[in-house]
């Protein structure tokens, strides 16, 4: 279980407080107005932000002492998820053990309709295409906790539905604990087991 | 990259300086391909059945500086290329031993009787001009300084000819030297770091006169067949530069070193040096290309090495302040 207990994070002069619990395999949507600190929460869990107090625990063990690299977390940033100077396929393989089979990646690319893009450089992709590549990698990495920061923001309605459904299926299938930051209620319905208002 | 590296190390290891019977510190151009070094080495090794190694440093004063730095741990048996202006400073390092040679073969005009330093060539400082451009050259230092002809000379802080001119002006003008320097500065094109910068600028046509040696025209005649570069004889007389060799106190083979000094003033060596170092032989009766007989033969003026050593820094300051105006 992912437990966030009285977590306090400084943001300038203000201090943000968080409390939440997510069961293993639970898909949780996080909603709230802009600036309420949704992304901050994800970055704190992933280990990018110093914590002022409280605790983050996974399976009863505190994560606070662990570095970014040691935490069981896969984070999809709001943007800048791809290295611009290497091709898409190379980008997809990053963050995965070398021995991991590429088959799931190919399948996911097929489902999300990006197979033709794999040999291109990210600069040749549209915003929506880039988001799908990042999404595939974030969900297929062998990390039990997946944090998605507005992963569907730039997708058209059709693709958005496709991506949302694929995300849910893949997360459930991989028994991931997933936190999804989104502004759209429909994303909540399609992906999440429950929603949390910040 | 890696193969280059191995090539480099291989070359480095195979050409180390071997322990020679006689090690000579000299200046670089003396041992360059066109300098006298290689020929002298071959000639001496033929008669002594020994191995002689030259180690080149940038110029004459660098030989002295190297001796100063190394002190007793220097490798040299001989130093070759200090001039009379640096002689006393070299002597005060205490690293030179008397040569014990009779120097009666030397030209009388050198008036040489030092017990430690042996002259191997000499020259008079002189201003060189292009006779195609100038038909009536100035005939005295005073005329040159009072003229408006463009002049290039060398910085006395960094080059021997520069020091030569400093002594020359001092010898001719005495207490009025500062004033003379200021007048000269009015038509000086530039003051260069070393001899060649000045001389090459002159050859490129940058000035009417350049400070060099009375023997410079010989090079142009012998090597290039050009006879229009000439040295202007000055009525006050010219300052000489005498290049010297000496045996170090720390030499492990002073006997052989002495033989080399003797060789250096022999007719054989004296025939080689003028046509490669472009200076004058220190003994009479050397067989040389005819142009050497046509060079100007000035009256010698100047100061004793002791006076130079004593007053150099004072003269330098005088020059620096006057020429910087």
């Amino acid at each position: 279980m992912l437990e966030i207990d009285n977590l306090r994070v400084k943001q300038g002069a203000a201090e943000l407080h968080y409390n939440l619990r997510a069961l293993p395999g639970e898909l949780l949507a996080i909603q709230g107005r802009s600036g309420v600190g949704k992304s901050t929460l994800l970055h704190a869990i992933a280990g990018f932000l110093p914590v002022a107090g409280g605790d983050i625990r996974w399976k009863g063990r505190s994560l606070l002492k662990l570095t970014v690299e040691q935490r069981p977390v896969s984070l999809l940033f709001q943007d800048h998820n791809l290295f611009e100077h290497i091709n898409v396929w190379h980008n997809l393989r990053l963050g995965m053990p070398a021995e991991q089979s590429p088959e799931p990646l190919h399948q996911a690319a097929e489902v999300l309709q990006v197979t033709e893009l794999l040999q291109r450089k990210p600069s040749e992709l549209s915003g929506g295409q880039r988001q799908r590549i990042g999404l595939i990698r974030a969900l297929l990495r062998p990390e039990p906790i997946v944090l998605l920061d507005e992963p569907f923001a730039e997708l058209d309605p059709q693709t958005r539905q496709l991506a949302a459904e694929w995300s849910r299926a893949t997360a459930k299938n991989g028994h991931k604990t997933l936190l999804l930051v989104t502004h759209q209620d429909e994303d909540v319905e399609r992906v999440a087991d429950r929603a949390l208002q910040l | 990259m890696r193969s280059l590296l191995s090539l480099f190390t291989a070359l480095l290891l195979t050409t180390s300086v071997s322990a020679a019977d006689l090690t000579v510190y000299t200046y670089d151009s003396f041992i360059s391909e066109w300098g006298p070094g290689p020929k002298l080495e071959a000639a001496f090794e033929r008669q002594c059945d020994c191995d002689i190694t030259f180690i080149g440093v940038e110029d004459g004063v660098s030989i002295l500086n190297r001796l100063r730095i190394e002190g007793d741990s220097n490798k040299a048996d001989l130093i070759l290329g200090i001039d009379d202006g640096l002689m006393e400073e070299t002597r005060t390092t205490g690293l030179i031993q008397p040569h014990g040679l009779k120097l009666d073969r030397l030209k009388p005009e050198l008036a040489w009787s030092d017990d430690s330093f042996v002259p191997f060539d000499y020259g008079y400082f002189a201003f060189i001009y292009d006779s195609r451009q100038i038909s009536k050259p100035v005939d005295s230092l005073q005329a040159l300084i009072d003229s408006d002809a463009t002049v290039i000379y060398q910085d006395p802080r960094t080059s021997t000819p520069g020091q030569g001119l400093m002594m020359w002006v001092k010898a001719v003008y005495g207490d009025q030297a500062a004033d003379a320097w200021q007048r000269l500065a009015g038509h000086t094109v530039t003051v260069t770091k070393g001899w060649w910068e000045a001389y090459s600028m002159f050859l490129q046509g940058s000035a009417d006169y350049v400070l060099s040696y009375s023997s410079s025209p010989a090079y142009h005649v012998v090597a290039e067949g050009k006879s229009h570069y000439k040295a202007a004889p000055f009525s006050e007389g010219h300052v000489a530069q005498i290049e010297l060799a000496a045996i170090t106190r720390t030499s492990g083979n002073p006997e052989l070193a002495r033989r080399f000094l003797e060789f250096l003033t022999s007719a054989e060596a004296q025939r080689l040096i003028p046509v490669s170092n472009w200076m004058l032989p220190v003994i009479d009766g050397v067989e040389l290309p005819p142009v050497f007989g046509e060079l100007i033969q000035p009256k010698r003026i100047g100061f004793s090495p002791a006076e130079v050593a004593d007053r150099r820094s004072q003269w330098l300051r005088e020059w620096r302040n006057a020429a910087a105006q």
Binding site: G47, E69, V73, S74, F77, H80, N81, F83, H85, I86, L94, G95, R137, R141 | L4, L5, L7, F8, L12, T15, S16, S29, S32, E33, G56, E58, V61, I69, E70, K75, D155, P156, R157, T158, Q163, A185, T188, V189, T190, V191, T192, K193, G194, W195, E197, Y199, S200, Q204, G205, S206, A207, A223, W278, R312, L316, W319, R320, A323, A324, Q325
Partner: protein, 515 residues
């Protein structure tokens, strides 16, 4: 990596400290501070400052329109060639440049008749011309690169808002250039402040002396170590603090993220196009003339009798020395930047600044003191006649490290700004990170390698002290030719050296663009 970086930094600092120590130890005492009140010292200091400020100012002012022309008119003919020529001019061996300038502007120069009776190359004129020639092309490249960081969106927005030309200049161009311009000014200032060969050759006497030249003169005949030390400390203090100050003010320009190719540049109107074309043509003329002026001198050589084989070995030695020095310098620079990057990531600004300063300190440390001090120290410990070439390589390496650091740093910091979080989020291993970084860094790496390679090949000062005649390099050969009346051969060898440099610049530029 981090530790190796600190070790690399310490090593380079240690060499400088040892060199000073060598000089202090031999001089039996420190600097002679009474010199500070000497009139001559003050005039040297003032002149150093004056010529360096003027050189830097002129270089930047003249580079600006040229950079704009190149930016707004990417379709100018032979633009790529011009940019290569800029690199060549920046690294041109001063020996060659001086010959070219004298042939062009000296008393009998090709252009001198146009300049009137009063013209004299020697003095401040010559120094400024040579410094501008060396540094303007560098400034052009930096400014152009900076302008190219302006995103399309800014220009599109400006067009939408119908901003006037003046507004665009003030709101878009200047803010992009400003941080770079400050650092650039500092960089060029320091290069000119420490200038040696140019000032000695074109200065025209004691009127035009820089601190570096004065150090040389103090050490040469007088062997006056206390005076040399005073001059050296002054130079280190002034150049060093200025450099520190300017790199503090002008920063963060590399943080712009490069994503999509830039296509959308506002089209200048017809008269402006003409002005750009004329500026561009003037740029070509400026950079080519001193090179062309070398040719007549070369024609005097008797080509048939010239010993071409004499050039082969020195050329090879120069190349090997250059490659070793440049290769080592790239490695050192990369390692030194590791702690710098760490400090930036941790937002430790002071630490970053200090480390950056240390990594480029060889730029402000008086080269003459470093080489002479080390010579004094080593001569008594090591057989320099045998191992001197190692120190030729080592010192050349340390001398060019700052240039490599300068070029690699913005690229690496940009990489970190853009990708460091991503690398961590993806939990990439050290090896994976290096492999990802390499393709990103490669163009900057190749460009700076070529630059410092040519700089190292052109070295004369270090070889003069540590080298020996068995290992004559091409610049030293030129010097030897000239030193024995063979001026025409010297011009020919100079031209060959220049060709070699041009070939290197050209080849690496191709590799960089094709990669």
């Amino acid at each position: 990596m981090q530790r190796a970086g600190i070790a690399a930094l310490l090593f380079s600092v240690l060499v400088t400290v040892l060199a000073f120590q060598g000089l202090i130890g031999f001089g039996h005492g420190g600097a002679d501070w009474s010199l500070l009140s000497d009139r001559y010292y003050q005039s040297v200091l003032l002149f150093s400052l004056k010529q360096a400020s003027l050189s830097a100012l002129l270089s930047l002012l003249l580079a600006w329109p040229l950079a704009r022309a190149l930016y707004y008119r990417p379709q100018l003919p032979a633009r790529r060639g011009f940019l290569s020529l800029c690199v060549l001019a920046f690294v041109m061996p001063t020996l060659v440049l001086i010959t070219g300038l004298v042939a062009l502007l000296g008393r009998n120069g090709l252009l001198s008749p146009l300049l009137g009776e009063q013209w004299n190359l020697y003095g401040l004129n010559g120094i400024l011309i040579a410094h501008v020639y060396l540094n303007l092309p560098f400034a052009v490249r930096v400014m152009l690169q900076q302008l190219q960081h302006i995103p399309d969106s800014s220009w599109q927005l400006a067009a939408q808002l119908k901003l006037s030309r003046w507004q665009r200049l003030r709101l878009i161009e200047w803010p992009t250039l400003k941080p770079a311009v400050l650092v650039l000014f500092g960089f060029v200032f320091v290069l000119c402040f420490n200038s040696f060969a140019v000032v000695l050759a074109l200065g025209g006497g004691p009127r035009a002396t820089t601190l570096e030249v004065a150090i040389y003169q103090a050490l040469k005949y007088d062997f006056n170590i206390p005076e040399a030390l005073t001059l050296a400390w002054s130079q280190l203090l002034i150049a060093g603090s200025l450099f520190l100050l300017l790199s503090r003010w002008g920063r963060s320009h590399w943080l712009s993220v490069d994503t999509l190719q830039r296509q959308w540049i506002p089209q200048p109107n017809q008269p402006m196009k003409l002005i750009h074309a004329m500026v561009y043509a003037a740029g070509w003329l400026l950079l080519l003339l001193p090179i062309v002026a070398l040719l007549p001198g070369v024609l005097e050589v008797d080509m048939a009798r010239f010993g071409w084989s004499a050039l082969l070995r020195p050329t090879l030695v120069s190349l090997v020395v250059g490659l070793l020095a440049a290769g080592g310098a790239m490695l050192l620079a990369y390692l030194m930047l590791t702690p710098v990057r760490q400090a930036h990531l941790k937002r430790q600004r002071k630490r970053a600044l200090l480390l950056e300063w240390l990594s480029t300190h060889a730029l402000v440390a008086p080269a003459m003191v470093v080489s002479v001090g080390l010579y004094i120290l080593l001569l008594r410990q090591i057989d320099l006649d045998r191992w001197g070439m190692l120190f030729v390589v080592l010192l050349n390496m340390l001398m060019v490290v700052p240039f490599a650091v300068q070029q690699l740093r913005p690229r690496l910091l940009q990489y970190d700004a853009q990708y460091h979080r991503l690398c961590r989020a993806l939990k990439l291993s050290g090896r994976q990170r290096l492999r990802l970084e390499w393709p990103f860094l490669r163009p900057a790496f190749i460009a700076s390698f070529a630059l410092i390679l040519v700089l190292a090949i052109g070295d004369l000062a270090i070889f003069a002290i540590f080298g020996n005649e068995q290992w004559t390099t091409l610049p030293w050969l030129i010097y030897s030719y000239a030193g024995s009346y063979r001026i025409a051969e010297a011009s020919l060898a100079s031209l060959l050296l220049l060709l070699l440099c041009a070939l290197i610049v050209w080849a690496f530029e191709r590799i960089r663009l094709d990669a």
